[in-house]
């Protein structure tokens, strides 16, 4: 009973905060709404006895979302939400796609038959996972490790200020600042102002 109520509460929190990510005006808030969504999923995993995975998820996302928040502050305009903002394109298409994928997966969950086999009590899932990771699935573990290493090297290579042929920003071009109104909001835009209304990135 208590378990069910907790589960529904955290599920609701996960979905609500996931939705708020794309409704926040402040970049920092968006990042931390996402963190909240991850934390709620982490707690659901703990409730499901996948304690280690749930806690590791929270640990990992705590760091990642903070970096994301700083990234947003450094790269984006309006990090603090002083201006109301919506930065979307093809909004209606996206909504349709989101709803369709939700319905498809939910239908799969509701109508497909899954075997019912709960984890037996008395075994330590963390221990089993550890044995699996370093025993039977050593290959998976190693692959994950090498993938992460490759990702680190690639990330440094891509983001480095100096490329193989000199400075990375050599010959870089400022793109056209003017962007036409997004398709989904043409009507709204036209009603207010016929001129191109959005030119993100322009500062004064």
């Amino acid at each position: 009973m208590i378990l069910n109520v907790t589960f529904w509460a955290f599920s609701a929190l996960a979905v609500f905060s996931g939705w708020r990510v794309f409704r926040a005006d402040s970049m920092v808030r968006a990042a931390y709404w996402l963190l909240l969504s991850f934390a709620a999923v982490g707690i659901i995993l703990v409730l499901l006895k996948a304690e280690f995975l749930g806690l590791i998820l929270i640990l990992m996302m705590g760091g990642e979302m903070t970096i994301m928040a700083v990234f947003m502050v450094a790269f984006m305009m309006n990090p603090a939400g002083l201006n109301p903002m919506t930065m979307v394109h093809r909004n209606s298409v996206a909504i349709v796609a989101g709803v369709v994928s939700f319905l498809a997966i939910a239908a799969l969950g509701l109508f497909a038959r899954f075997p019912v086999a709960r984890a037996p009590a008395g075994v330590d899932p963390t221990r089993k996972l550890g044995v699996e990771l370093l025993g039977n699935s050593m290959l998976v573990f190693q692959t994950a490790g090498v993938t992460l290493l490759a990702a680190m090297i690639a990330a440094i290579a891509i983001s480095s200020a100096r490329g193989r042929y000199g400075d990375a920003d050599q010959g870089s071009v400022e793109p056209d600042q003017m962007v036409t109104a997004p398709a989904g909001d043409v009507a709204a835009a036209a009603a207010h102002d016929p001129a191109p209304v959005i030119s993100p990135g322009v500062h004064q």
Binding site: V73, A74, F75, M77, N78, P79, L82, N83, P84, M85, T86, M87, A161, D167, A168, D169, D185, A188, A189, A191, H192, D193, V197, I198, S199, P200, G201, V202, H203, Q204
Partner: protein, 451 residues
Amino acid sequence: MGVKAALARLAAGAPARCFAVVGAEADEIAPWLRLDPELVIVDSPRAADVLLVLGQLDDEMVRAAAGVHDALPPPRGVVSWSPGGERPVSWPFTDDVRVDDPAQIPAACRRLRDELLSGRRASSPDILPDIDPAPWRGVGPFGQGGAGMTGGVPYGRPLAARADDRDGLKLDQILVRVGPYLPPFPSGLVLDVKIQGDVIQEVSIPTPAAVAPDLISAGAHSAGAHSLTGERALFNAAVTQPVPVADIEVARARHHLVWLAEALRVSGLEAYGRRVLKLARTVRPEAAEPVDDLSRWLRRNVSLRWGTSGVGMVSASRAAALPGGPVARAAGDGRDARSLDPAYERLGFTPVVLEDGDALARWRVRVDEAQQALALAQRAGESLTTPIGLVEGPCGPIGGERSTSAALVTMLPELLVGMEWGDAVTTVVSLDIDMAEAALPHDAAVASRAS
């Protein structure tokens, strides 16, 4: 009500937390307040019960003090002291507690705090109007203001601009005005700083020498009206008349120790700073061992060396452009007005000179000079200085073309660019800028001396 009364009774035993606004001619009083057990001088007005307004403030500084006042959380009050009891015409603190005797400041603060917290006295009201500097108006289809989604000036505050960073990216940069009462900086210093993250990209000084001309006149005027006391008067007097060498050297040692206490405090060693401040108050040439102990302790403290070595380099050429003083001597420039004085020559004086030119060297020069000053004072006996028109003050020569402090202030913008905020503060503190000296032009200084 019951809870509040009980809390107020409990709080009555605590020291009064004060944020100090220090104007001209208060530098003989302000540092010692940190030693008083009835007071705590706090770094942020948000943590203060009482705004302490000390010394003479010009209009510009009074306006800034009014802003600080409004940042104090109610219930709040103001205690003010000014030499001679004068207040400028634009004095905004209508219900301040005025103290005439500086010795009464702590008791007055404590009493005011108790009255405020127990509700016996009303909190002093806001001075500045609480309105947006500019009303915000939505323009775009989503209500965004100004030109473009993120352009415009929401509430009169420009959004961050973009500027190149040290990694070849173009990232947000904000303009911040710091001062005149930012605690780690010398009181009265105002800087316009462009920061990106915590890296300083551009520094400018809003008005020359950071202080409006009013202060210069106020300083000169008051210097005539109520003759300067203490350290500054002593050094100024030595320009034109013979003064006991012992007095001047003890004053120098005391100045350096007071500076060291503040520098330690900004480095995070507040308690040790208090110890040094206590030492500064009681320092005598006959009992110089505590200063020697201090010097040894400083040399051994790795963490202090870490925070100061290599920070705020003043090159030899920059040092040569200074009129002199400990900052130049820490950068290998051996000029010292005392070398010209036959009285010092008889005492076997050689200036303390270090080569490094960083903040650590400046710390060491000052501590060594404090030690040396005490030794000189002990050897000097009754001997008097020779008035040669130039006196080596604690911050640099007095009586010359222009003051070292003024030269240091004009040097700040190029010195601080590219530093992280913490290093910039370490640098400013290590320069020991005396804003009153920086504000007094040569003529005014001479005028005040003549009177």
